[in-house]
């Protein structure tokens, strides 16, 4: 493993009541977050390929952790998202190197499919910074019931020379979703959009 991991945190949320109404079955989502050393902290490096490889490793590891936290088979995941926070001695482009070139393929391998773009966000910040991981349906980005986001934070990360990398997976959409649009039972699943 190329990534030097200091810590992995896993978060699970289960919502069974909303505005006095029962959510049945409850909606559930999980996020797995790794805190790793940034090999390029403190210097401008042109070639970011080491972080791209680290992204590939973390794509598999964190997706497995998130799915395990939900207690489901990967194929039963419905939506996903990814995010990264770079400590103050790194640059935003380091998050991009982890998230965009190679991380998606192993995520999709663990989940069985994943025709849709994996929504993402990134930032640079200090310890305790909040990450909002955007969520979208994994096979059809336009499924309106699954547009969502999950907030995560780790109080002691990222240190200046670290990067926080997060992957979120759900087995459901929003609780009590009812604003119309494409529903999951209408997915064609060919183009990743509808």
């Amino acid at each position: 493993m190329k990534a030097k991991i200091r810590k992995i945190a896993t978060f699970v949320e289960e919502t069974s009541m909303e505005m006095g109404r029962k959510v049945d079955p409850p909606t559930r989502r999980a996020a797995a977050v790794a805190v790793i050393e940034n090999p390029y902290a403190g210097q401008y490096v042109e070639d970011l390929s080491e972080l791209m490889s680290i992204g590939e490793e973390l794509g598999e590891l964190l997706t497995q952790r998130a799915v395990a936290a939900l207690g489901i088979e990967g194929a039963y995941a419905e939506s996903y998202g990814k995010a990264a926070a770079v400590g103050e001695n790194g640059e935003l482009e380091h998050a991009a190197a982890i998230l965009h070139p190679k991380l998606g393929t192993p995520v999709r391998r663990v989940l069985g499919k994943g025709a849709a773009l994996i929504p993402s966000s990134k930032k640079r910040g200090g310890l305790g910074v909040v990450l909002d991981i955007p969520l979208g349906h994994k096979d059809a980005a336009f499924v309106r019931s699954h547009f969502d986001g999950m907030e995560v934070r780790i109080s002691d990360a990222p240190r200046a020379h670290e990067i926080m990398v997060a992957i979120a997976v759900t087995d459901s959409g929003r609780p009590l979703a009812r604003v119309g649009g494409l529903s999951k039972d209408q997915i064609k699943g060919e183009d990743g959009l509808r």
């Binding site: 909303e18 505005m19 970011l48 791209m52 482009e93 955007p134 959009l193």
Partner: protein
Amino acid sequence: MPEVQVRKKVLMVEEIFHEGGPIADKPQRRAAILAVIRNPYAGSYVEKIEPFMDDLKPLGLEMARALVAALGGDSKVVEGYGKGAIVGSAGELEHGALWHVPGGYAMREILGGAKAIVASTKKVGGPGTRLDLPITHINASYVRSHFDAMEVGINDAPRADEIVLALVMTTGPRVHARVGGLRANEIKGEDGLR
């Protein structure tokens, strides 16, 4: 038909010259606009909320126009976009989902028919809640240089019975974008993805 009551708007503009590497020939600019509105459904469970999406359309157009104006007035400079919402504590996540249609289609209209899905995120939170608005290229979601995000928030919003609605636009790629992938000059522009 509930009236759209705006208490406050906030406009934020960032101009980014470099991030430790070469100084950009053309600084990247990001602009976000936030509107704090009263949540007509705060405090109770209302089944039929979809009509409020139409009520929000004029506000969406007004906010999209304000962003173009903040970036110099020419919609052709806009290359990335995103949106989000923060619902006050007396509302539910589903109320934030009302923003998908009026927020997204307003920007597409003002930008002359942008093709890509508008990246989004949403949450329920108290006053001062921060939101990371995800950003992607307006015509092709897979343009890697334009995956970005902008953090926004208002210290006194949303109050319990309010919603913060947000739109964001950018004028170009990340300042030192160099992780490969689809480039803006390679866009086919047919499916909104590539």
